[in-house]
Each structure stands twice: as structure tokens, then as C-alpha cells.
Subunit: 458 residues, 4 copies
Amino acid sequence: MFHETFHDDGLAHLSYLVGDGGAAAVIDPRRDCDTYIERALAHGAQITHVFETHRHEDFVSGAVELAARTGAEILHGAALDFDYGEPCREGDTFRFGDVEIEVLETPGHTFESLSLVLRDCSTGDAPLGVFTGDALFVGDVGRTDFYPDRAEEVAGLLYDSLHQKLLPLGDHVLLWPAHGAGSVCGSGMADRDWSTLGYERRHNPRLQLGRGAFIDAKVAEHHVKPPYFERMERMNLAGPPRVPDRPRPTPLSVSEFARHVDDGMVVVDIRSPEAFAGACLPDALALPLDMLPSYAGWFLPAQRRIGLVADHADDAIEATRQLARLGYDDVLGYLAGGMTAWEVSGRPYDRIRAVPVQTLARRGRPGDDYLLLDVRSDEEWESGHLPGATHAPLDALTEHLRALPDDRPVTTFCGSGRRAIIAASVLKRAGFDEVEDCLGSMAAVGAADEDITGALEI
Amino acid sequence: MFHETFHDDGLAHLSYLVGDGGAAAVIDPRRDCDTYIERALAHGAQITHVFETHRHEDFVSGAVELAARTGAEILHGAALDFDYGEPCREGDTFRFGDVEIEVLETPGHTFESLSLVLRDCSTGDAPLGVFTGDALFVGDVGRTDFYPDRAEEVAGLLYDSLHQKLLPLGDHVLLWPAHGAGSVCGSGMADRDWSTLGYERRHNPRLQLGRGAFIDAKVAEHHVKPPYFERMERMNLAGPPRVPDRPRPTPLSVSEFARHVDDGMVVVDIRSPEAFAGACLPDALALPLDMLPSYAGWFLPAQRRIGLVADHADDAIEATRQLARLGYDDVLGYLAGGMTAWEVSGRPYDRIRAVPVQTLARRGRPGDDYLLLDVRSDEEWESGHLPGATHAPLDALTEHLRALPDDRPVTTFCGSGRRAIIAASVLKRAGFDEVEDCLGSMAAVGAADEDITGALEI
Amino acid sequence: MFHETFHDDGLAHLSYLVGDGGAAAVIDPRRDCDTYIERALAHGAQITHVFETHRHEDFVSGAVELAARTGAEILHGAALDFDYGEPCREGDTFRFGDVEIEVLETPGHTFESLSLVLRDCSTGDAPLGVFTGDALFVGDVGRTDFYPDRAEEVAGLLYDSLHQKLLPLGDHVLLWPAHGAGSVCGSGMADRDWSTLGYERRHNPRLQLGRGAFIDAKVAEHHVKPPYFERMERMNLAGPPRVPDRPRPTPLSVSEFARHVDDGMVVVDIRSPEAFAGACLPDALALPLDMLPSYAGWFLPAQRRIGLVADHADDAIEATRQLARLGYDDVLGYLAGGMTAWEVSGRPYDRIRAVPVQTLARRGRPGDDYLLLDVRSDEEWESGHLPGATHAPLDALTEHLRALPDDRPVTTFCGSGRRAIIAASVLKRAGFDEVEDCLGSMAAVGAADEDITGALEI
Amino acid sequence: MFHETFHDDGLAHLSYLVGDGGAAAVIDPRRDCDTYIERALAHGAQITHVFETHRHEDFVSGAVELAARTGAEILHGAALDFDYGEPCREGDTFRFGDVEIEVLETPGHTFESLSLVLRDCSTGDAPLGVFTGDALFVGDVGRTDFYPDRAEEVAGLLYDSLHQKLLPLGDHVLLWPAHGAGSVCGSGMADRDWSTLGYERRHNPRLQLGRGAFIDAKVAEHHVKPPYFERMERMNLAGPPRVPDRPRPTPLSVSEFARHVDDGMVVVDIRSPEAFAGACLPDALALPLDMLPSYAGWFLPAQRRIGLVADHADDAIEATRQLARLGYDDVLGYLAGGMTAWEVSGRPYDRIRAVPVQTLARRGRPGDDYLLLDVRSDEEWESGHLPGATHAPLDALTEHLRALPDDRPVTTFCGSGRRAIIAASVLKRAGFDEVEDCLGSMAAVGAADEDITGALEI
């Protein structure tokens, strides 16, 4: 048999190819699905089945695309009425050579959530591994905040799925979830993709709780829900559109690029925070490439055309791929020649002053002189922050904008300065004049010496 | 943390890179060790430790090479007096960021065999996985035939290592052995590289036995021991020589190649069995590339220079790498232009007639008319063979050669016809005139219809 | 400016990407045109124009595909009424940054043939290079046999195009033709792709002739015209269909493959001649991968479905790409597991005995005992052949088949034994029982010692 | 025959592999010479000869390294007494299958400069191409400023080499020089690598001059001579040291990196100018990767250890390779985690304010308020500059440093702002407090509207 894991760094999305004897299944494919087909070929196999553990809300499903290219059958949980594919139910089994996949209904994260138990019939009848979708992660469990009216009910459902369906499979069973660390689908995940049910039973904090405590904890959780989730849910229910033929961004000359900007194209700058700080287009949105999948959904409107500023064409291609995974198919192109081309064209550009903590320490407590805008999450804020700082979590920044005073310089601040660059660009787009970024931010404060922490009153 | 598995298809050898926080360890490296360094770099880490689970007997250890390139420390079991590296002992621990490795002494396969328990201290104190070397495989356990005088003792040691050291770590622990299916280090391995202690406890046939039955079974096992094992053991005890600078085979013109043949160079033909059957150099040894790692050690003398016949330069490069892993560093080059170049040079060439089972069926029972030489293992032979066939296991073929009648055609035969091509080439080199290969062999017999099996008296 | 040459080894087809300042043109694209787009992107350029030097007869034009993907304009010669693209005429110029392309009408090979003069306006106004399509090659000139009724007229047109249009551009002008050595579009080409008009003026044999002698020579030329040329011409006039979405062959199990064979699928074996000789499917057509582009058009019917036998999936993918360039889009897949899978399935297979010249020498003069079938071209045959041999050029083999005696063994023979394997497979498919291949063939005869040539009566 | 060009983007260095019939020559190899060997293998050839057209002064010759790995013979001009290799002389010929290379002595750039005429004997006896080293480039000729005492003599020698040796080979001859556009070995080169002698005869500005005018022009030329040239000359005369085994930079943790900085390691920041402007280590030298080969020799002392700051490990690897080509073998490693790692460590960092021309326009004429430091070449400066600017060519910046006033802000300025970032970092290292960079610089001025140029008094 063969089993391959596909780890999408951006969304921390995990998908899987398994098979044997010339046939293969893919679990939770992403939309750019060439790789699955190529790897299956390398094993001499055709992809005959595509399983969706649940209706994904954080990316566009690749099931329709992959099925269209391979003729594979799509299988969903029966508890939701998808416009495509076929429903499957508890106990259904599927065979691929010596590999058997058995369906477990594990509602909680969503009502139609499935887990898929894998057996290697050539070696024994005990389960070998289980694809858990968003029910169980390495170090965390799935979110249950998508049905706020039925919060306790779904948390209870998840508890039962975990304790009555998954854990009873046995300590020895390998765990193959749909997300790894960094996903918005869970915040406590470990920074590795592999574990076993037994290891999780011992060490996953959520599995240490009794039913009542579990429900209480889940109901009390606060999760961000980016505005694009709803669009993803809609697309994944109806069946997403096919991937546009070979999506590839076009190099746009400075004048073409500028003309598109005048026509309403959003400029997304995927360069590093430092490069953005050094020089950037006047209205650019900073979304460094490795943060693009996590934050594009918050700040990029669905219907606008997009133009990229990148260091390399390869980065623009990767960004286009990442954006397509989120359903943003309207990337017009990228600025040919990069930022330098813009600079030598004589057009104006901006910069964001980078401010080390040493400077903050010299300035003293923020307030009337300048605003220190901390965009970390509520949890991070509560675990410690600089006296005098103002708090507006990045995911709620848009709503806080109007309430911020615009009569003084703003220094954005986060855990490392990276989210702060996004925030800084959002502020600049909203008309704030003097915007700085404390590169280093809270991590630098934590690592700095006493002189500095003293001056910052920590 | 990061954890990568390196699966060497040829020897079915598994090695590992693990690390965290800028430091990394490699377990059981092979000799061409660039990849470990590159992957560690990709994780921003330096390799600081190299662990050898035991003195390998089936390949040249890469520990010395890797340590020389990285400055890493080499660690061995203390029960053998290596000429290099440092001993480590039960309970010793090593830390790499959040990763902790703890030494377990698990003798049996060899006296100094170690297992290495891995913990992810960021998530919990239970073991997460264990590197078991040649103690425990997926679906099998290690060989215990290297100390024939103390056969029961070492089998007992292995039993105790398995049942008192490894299984008690817990069902949930991931299993990371030093070999996968196809290795000469075990014959019952599953065709996948991943499992857990709990899955093995349930389904590994050797773990179902009590101590007495286990010892009996192990003592009764018959394992092949290729002649090169002893050389590997010697090299791996003393510390193997550095890899020659960038080993790369040279293209040799037909006349150069022929001159080297006259000077005693062994011709190793790594093309497919069919291509070898179609046309081959008069004294060539057939070792199709994917079988090279398993069989080179049987038929290639240690001190002879080697010339390759390949379809592509890439294959020759890969073969040279594989041979270096076995300590064959004296590959002079490959035949430039391939087999065609030899053919058009007007030099004589041979062929091996491929004989389908339909032809065997027409011929009737082998005997005086022709010899059907079955080169499968004793186990395979005993589980069924063709009436009238002669048995000489491939690994003992050299010893049987003299006893074979050379007055009639010989048709070599194995499970599929692939080992048979090696045998055919060995016979030809030994002076047998008419040699054929039953491509398909026992598998074809099993799949053929009744007319054929009837004619073959099965 | 940038200029890249794309050399398609199979058809010895040369295409080009040139551009500057963000815009680019492609000359004579092939159908799988991703590479042009990628390379243009790497230069920061969009492809805005596609030039066709003439209606190609030996491959499917990629102009439609490339234009559909990029929005580029297609430009043709005006003397033929294409169903797509736009006509252009003598003196038309096109600008790409500092690069200027000027149209020369150079009829002869076809009436609408164009040459395209390139200037680098940043350095001077003299022509820098010229794309000559099939008018002028390195070491040869284009064929003029496509209008047999007007043979002298078109030969004269070509002479005038060469001597009045191309050579007057100047000795210093770089030559960029549409074909290199190995193409069926010319037989005297040098084995390199680059030359200058001046070097050709000195050394191209065809350019040494006066107008009358040139016309006489061209009219006397004999060129093969594979049956698929007509189909290519038709497709390239009307506009070829789009490339099927990501053409990729499917692995087919032995039983699926066998079923398709029963349903009429043609088996194309792209392995080496030696591997085919060693073992092959009963009705397989031998077309070793590197000979596939040159010979598929002769022996593969247009409408039949195709199944491949290959050593590696990569080879099957490459063969599928090559076949698509010739308009064969109906490749069902390849035999999963390769020839071995067929052998172990117990199905019958054939082989072709490879016969060295030493054996021919022992046999003596062919005739009643066996047929030596020489499939080389008329020119090769006339420049020397074995006494007693029978001649049937490979490109006319199908027509000669009926006249060949089928009561004796046939040994196929060519320059090296490679074309002979194709011929052997064609004979076998036509029902000839005993077919051999003299691997080495005429080259081996030439290189062999006197004993052999004496015995062969040469 | 085969012929491949290797274009090293950094140094705009061109080297060549040519061969036929299993043998090959390399002309002017660089030090990292794996690629030549690999490509020769792909053509089935061994490298038997290495030609050096002259003692290179701008990079470390790869001849010794390549010869050591292949056993090839090294050939030099006889007019200089190299410590390695063999001299060759006018008229010497070397044969590689059908390829013939004939030596022409073409002194001028250096006394021992050779050109190598290539003939393809399979097609004719006229020269096909010529490797001209640093005698003749596309659009320029070689420098003749290395023997200031004999300036007229060597300029005359070059004139004679060009007009009596090279041009007489014929207009049709392909030109293969040792450098392309961007090299410090010539300033007027075209931005393409291919031309012919005839095209150059027509359009190369230097070839339009008579002998006297040519000598006058050459003597009047001003060329930069980076300090590392002398070291290169010394190494290339004596024979450079072997390349250290697999040079690969090590990731260094922030604390290791900082410790090395304290011990005198030079920090070379190879990120983009914008990223450097955004945030940089206090004493870092800015050498953006694509400018590194051209400027490292000016600002990097020969004996200092080097630490890199890069966006990606790949960039650090490439930089290490580029530095090795210049003889800088002591790269300790790169900052693991990149600039962000430094920022979050709480250590102080700097930034360079990027200043668009709009800001300059608002400021008015530089002078007492701020210094506008134009680091362009004399030629550029003379062709137009901003009123009030101060001139210090980048290559002489070190010498000018002491004379610059340090009591006011300095805005560095060049053609695009890219050389200006290097200058800014040099100033900062020299203790200047307030340093800015006008990204865009003269190009932006040229492209800006009248308001701006008016304000800038142009």
C-alpha cells in the first residue's frame, strides 16, 4: 500500500493520498490537484474516490476539480445536502487493493463530519490509522462555533464523537487530521503532523476533560471567523467552479499596473515585512507571502481584481495558487520588474518606519504623543502587554478603525512585528498619515534587557 | 520539531532526521549523506549528533562521512568496541530543542543494538516514537543468526528487548525501524514503513509467540548471509573510508570499455531483464538496477573494477551511488552510447532466450532434454515447484555451479523471471552454452490456465 | 533583448522565443506550449505575437493553442488562406521593445513560406538574424516536393528566395531555421542548430549550385512523405483542436490493457530495441521512444486508440506528448508494471532473436535459407549492401509486405539494427513467424574484421 | 558536435563547452565546475582540454579545479609564465571528433591573450566561430588599461589583433566572448551574448575607428579596477586553490551570529535594497544578491570572515557560490531565521529612510541642509546631475569618505537607487548617523513630471 501526506504550508491544510493495487483515494483535496494525480501515477494507480471529511470552511474544496480530471467518485457525509457527489454513511466500506476505508460519522465540528478508518488487510484487521478531518487534531480538537444557537449541542456531539467513536479505535491507531499547526481551524495544535490516538488520549489537553467540562470549554472558546468563510461554505456546498486553465499571473508593466490601480485593482504586496517597510506602493495591502493564506480572507474583498507586488515571479505564481485555494481567481498579474520598476518610474511611494524596542523605551509610555496599537489576539493581550498600549485584534481591526484617533503617529505592534506590518498597511490605506511598525514587538520586549523593560514599565 | 524519513529503495534502508530549535540528529545514515545536510538546512538546523542503532552489516555506515562534514558527534551502543564515535548507554538522553532522545539498550539482533525513544517535550512526557534499528520492524523482528554459537541466547535477548523494553513503551508509540519491506534483514516485513507498537503487538506474527516459541522460531529461521556482509561489518567497526570526491562514472568508449574488460573489469549490466535477454555483452553480469542493491553483494567480488552497461547515464550514476553504499568504490565508468554502441562496433554479443510458460508446457517435464533451474529460496521451493525442476537458491548458486550438468540447455526460473536473469548471466559467465530465462516463471505458472498447469503436471 | 531556441529532439523541430521590453514573439510553436509562456514570464514578458513561417506538414502547429492561452495574434503568409490568424506580407514589421521583426516572403518549400528578419535596434540597423522556416537549414535547404505538378516552378521559387532574399541579407546574419538534423524535412542537415548565412553560402552544398543545377537537383530528390503529413496539413490549415486538458496517460492493469487490445487498441512499445527483442507483446509495434516522432506517422493509423508499453511512467508521459505533437490524441494509457506485469500474468509473449554479424557470416549468403531484409533508404542501399539481401525501405515496407516470401526466416537489417526492430515488429504483426533483427547491421559489418566481411562477400 | 554557453549572471562571465565524438573542451571555466562535467556526460563526452583565453582578473579561474576532477590538460597563452598548465601558440590545433580548435594569439587586453577558432570539419573548412576571450565582445572590445606604462602599445596590439587576426576570419564567423553585458570588463556591451564578426564589423562602435583613433580612445578610457583584481591575477597566475569540499553556508543562530560579529565577522546583507532600507543589522554591508558579484570585490576585505543575512537559505547558498568565484572562501554561515530572528531577539537594528524624488523636490537644493551624494560613475555624472549634489563614484567612495561632511543628513543617489543602498551602508559603517537612499534616483528624476524637475532645477 502507499500513503502520502500533502502539507499545505499556507493554510496548514493536510490532505492524503492512499491506495493499493492500482486504485487510490484522496482525502480532503485542495483545488490545485495535479500533485495527487502525479503521485498516484508514480504508484501505478488511478484515483477512483475522493472523500471529503466535511464541508470545509477555510478553503475551496478540490473534490470537483479532481473528480472532473480523473473520473473519481466524490463521497460526503449524508447529514448535509451537497449539490454534488454522493452521500456515505456509518459503516460504509471502500476497498483499494489491500487497503480498506470504513466510514465513521463523527459530528461536532459540523453535522456531516466524517472520520475514515484505514485498515491494511494484508497485515491485520485492527485499524491502522484514521483520517479525522476537523474532529481531532494533533494537540487540539475541532472548532464547534459554527452553530452559535446550538453551541452546547454540537460541543456535546464532538465529545461523543471523540470518546465514543475515535478513541475506542485504540491507542495504537495513527492520526491523520485535516489541519496542522497554524491553521485557523484550531489554535492549540502541535507543530508536527503525526501522532496516534493513544498519544492524544494522554496529552491532548481537550481530551483530558470530562463531558461537562469539555462542553463548557468549547462553548467558552473564542474563534476568529474570517469573512471569507461564508463564501467558502457556499462554494463547497454547491460545488466550486473549475480551476481556471493554468492560473498564472501576468507580468504587468508599471503603467499597466498603475492604470489597473486607478480602475480599482487592489495592490497586494507579498514581499517581506522589512521590504514593505522599506518602500511600498501608496495604497498597497501588506500580505507577506507566508501570511497570505491566513490573512487574505480578512482583508481582501471577494470581487475585486488583484495585482501583486513580489520580489520574484515565482512568488507571484505561488501567491496566485494560494489565492485560488481561497477562491480568489481574479489575479490580474504582478508588477513587472518589482518594486524597483515602480521606484525608477518616478511615481511616489511610501515607507513604514521600523521602530526597535530601544526606541520605544526612549519614548516612554505611549498616549498623547503616539499610539501603540497592539493587534494581537485577546489571549495574547491578556497574557501581558505594554502599559499605555491600545488593543485592536488584527481580525477586528477594520471595525476598530473608526474609533482610533488619527491626530498622532501610530506604531503597530504584535508578537513579532509581522502581523503589525499588515495592520500598518491597513491603517495607511484608511488614511492614517504617520504609521510605524515595531519589528520585533512583544518577542523583542521579552528578550530585551532590564533597561528597556524598565523604561517600558513592564 | 521536524522528522523526516529517508527510504532507500534499493536496500529498503530507512534512516531519519529529527530535530528542533536549530539542532538535529540523524539515525543510521547512509554513506551519501548530502541529503541529510540539505534537509537539516531547510529546517534551519545543524546536525549535531549521529546515532547508529547497531553495527550495520548490509551497507556501509554514513556516520563517519556525515560527522566529517558536519562536525557532529557519533554515538554507538557500548557493547561493541568501535574504532570511532562514542559509546552511549541505557538512559542517556540528548536534547534538540523540544525533542528528547533517550537510549534503550535492546540487544538481540546484535549485542550492542540500541533503540532510541523520542519525546516531544512541548506536548507531553510520554514517548512519541521509537527508532528500533533492526530490533523491531513493521511486520517482523530482526535477524538473530549472526552468532550461530549463541543462537538461543541472542534470540532470548531479542525477545526480552521486545517485550521488556519496547512494547512497554505503550501501544501509542510510533515505530521507526531501520529497514522496510525488501530488505535482507527480514523477510516478513509489511510493504509500508509506518506502524505503531500497538499495531505490531496485535498483528506482528513474531510478537504473538511466547518466549520459548519465539526462541525456537528464531533459531529455526534460515537467513541468507551475502558474502559482503563480513566486509561491511569490518568497515563499520573500524570506520569506513570517506566517500571518494563526487563519485561519478565516466563514459567509456567501446574500445576503452573493451580494453578494460580485457584487463579484468567486471561488466555489470543494469538494464532490464528483457533488454539483457535481447542482447548483452558476452561476459556481462546481469544486475538490473532495482535488484542491484540486493544482489551485488552476492556476485560482485570486492576488489575488482566495475564497468556498467546502462540505458541512460542517470542510471549509471544511480548504480554508482548504490554500489558505493555497499563499499564498491571502484566503478570505472559506463559504456558510452549504451548497448547500441557495442552492437554497431561489430563486436560479438549474446542473448538469453526468453521462454514463456506456454513453451515450457509444450516441452513437457524437464530432465534429460533440458534443465529447469529454479533459483528461488528454500521456502519458496518448498511451497511448490515444477516437477522435474532442479533447485539451487540464487544465494547459493555459485556453490551449486560445479554440480550442474552442462550437456543440456538450462532454463532459469524463479518467482517472476527477474532473479532468473541474474542466474542466467552467472551460468553464462561460468561457461554454460545454452541458457534461457523463463520470464514470468512461477507467477506466470500460477496465473496460467489449466491446459498449461496440466501439461506442467501441477 | 532575449532569444531562446527550443529544440524538440524527436522531430528535430526548432521553435523560438524572442522579445524585449515586456513583449515577445514565438516562431513556429509546438502544441505543448507551456514552456514558451514560462520562459517569457522569466523575462518579464507577455507573448503578443505568434509567427508561422509556413503551414507545417510534419507536426501539429501550436499557434492556436498558444494564442488561446495568451491572447497573442497569429501571423501567417498571405499566399495561403488559413482559417485562423492574420496574413502578413513582405515588408511588414513588428516591434518588441528594441527588437524588430520584418517579414520576407520566401516561397519555394510552400507558396506562403515566410522568413522573418530580426534586428536589434539598440545596436544597429543591419539584420542580426533570420528565421528561415523550411527555406534554409544548416547544411541543407527545404523540400520542394509537395507540389509534384509544379516541381520545377517551386524549386525555382526556392532558389530565388535563397539567392535574392536570404543570402543578400549578408554573410554576418545568424541563421534560425525550423528544423535541425534528423528531421524528415531535409536529409543533409548538420548536427548543430546554429550557423550564419555566410557559413552556409560557403559550405551548404545546395547553395553551391547555379539556378539550373539547383532546380535539377531538387526535382530529382526523393523524399519520404509519411501518410500523416496530409492530416497535419489539413489540421494546420483549419486550425488544430485545443490540446486535451493535461494529457497524461493512465496506468492500465494487465487485464484492462488486454481487454483494450481485444477491442482494437494498437500496442506501441517504446522500450529499447534490445528490450523489445528480449520480450514483447504478441502484436506490439516497436517504436523506441527516440524514434517515435520520426516513425509513428508511418505505422500508426490516425483513428486507432493507442496503448503504450514503457520501462517508466515518465517515458509514457513523454511518448504521449510526442504523439500529441503529431495529432495522436487518443492514447488510452500504458501497461502498469511494464513488461514484467505482462510476463507474470501468464499471458504469452514473443521475442525477436538478435543476430550479430558473426552469425550472418557463419550462415553465408542469404536466399532460400533465410531472407535478409534491408530496410534502409534507396541512397543507403545504393551506397553498399550485403550480397543476397532483399531491399524494402522502411517507409515503403507496408507496400512491400505482400511480395515478401513467408516460407523462410527473415532477418531485418538497417544501418544499426534500430530501424530493423521496427521492421521486425511490422513483419510479426503481418503474420511472419520467424523474425530476427541484426542488431549492429551495416555499421557492424563496416567495423568487423576481414574474416567476417570476407564471409559476407563484401 | 555540441556547443553550450554558460552565462554566469553575476559576473556576466561566459564560458563554453564544445566537443564531439566523446571528447570535449571547456573554455574559461569558472570555479564551481560541476555543471561542465555533467553537461559533457549528457553528451557522452569526457573533458580532455581546458583553454584559458587569458589570465582572468575578475574571477578565480576554474581551470585547476576542473583539470583536477577530469584529468584534462590546461592550455594557456605562451606569453605569460603560468605556474600550471601548458603553453600553446599561434597555429596549434586540437581535435575533438569533428571539431577543430585552432589557436590565434590576440594580445592587447593582456599580452598572452588567445582567441580560439572553431571549425566543424564535418561541414567545411571555414571557421564557424571564434572564442575571443576579452579581445572582442558583443558591442565593445577589451580593456587595455592593465599596463598603464605601455598604454599605447597594448591598445595598438589590440587593434592589430582585432583587425589583422579576428575580422579577417570572415563576416560569417560566430562570436563567443568571455563576457556579456554587465561585466566590469567592458562598459558598452549589448544585452545579448551572440553576434557575428560581420555584425560587429558593422555596428561595434570601437571597430569603426582607425588605428590612431582607436588607440587614442582606448588610452583615454577610464575603467574601474576593483581592489580584488590584483588578488585574482595572483591566484590565476599561480593556480588557485581547490574549491573547499561542498561549500555550503551554515545556519547560525542569532547569538552565534552576534558573537561572530563581535569577533570581527563582516555582515553582508544580500536582501533587496528595500528590505535593507526597512531594517538591517547595525554594521551590515548591503550587497543585494544580484549586485554581489560586481561590488563584493570593492568593499569586502580579502581575509575577513563573512556572515550573510538573506531572505532564503537558497540565496545564501548562491551568494556563497558567487563569493567563491571571487576567491572569498571564508563564509561562516547565514543568520538562521533571517532578519526577523534578529528583530525578535530584542537586539537593536537600523533602517535607511527611502526618499522619493517628490521629497527631494520639496526639500529644494541640497547643500547645508543635507548632502545629496551621487555615487554614479564619472561618465554618468557628466551626462547630467542634480544641482547641489556631491559626487563620489561608488568605486572610489572609500577614498572620499574622509572628505565628506558628517554634520548633516546624507541622501545617497545613483541611477536607480540600488548602488545608493550599498553606498548608504558604507556610510553607516563609517559612522555617518543619518543616511537616506533616494530609491529611484536619476531614473525617477528623468521620468518625473515638470513640477518635480522644475523644483530640482533641472
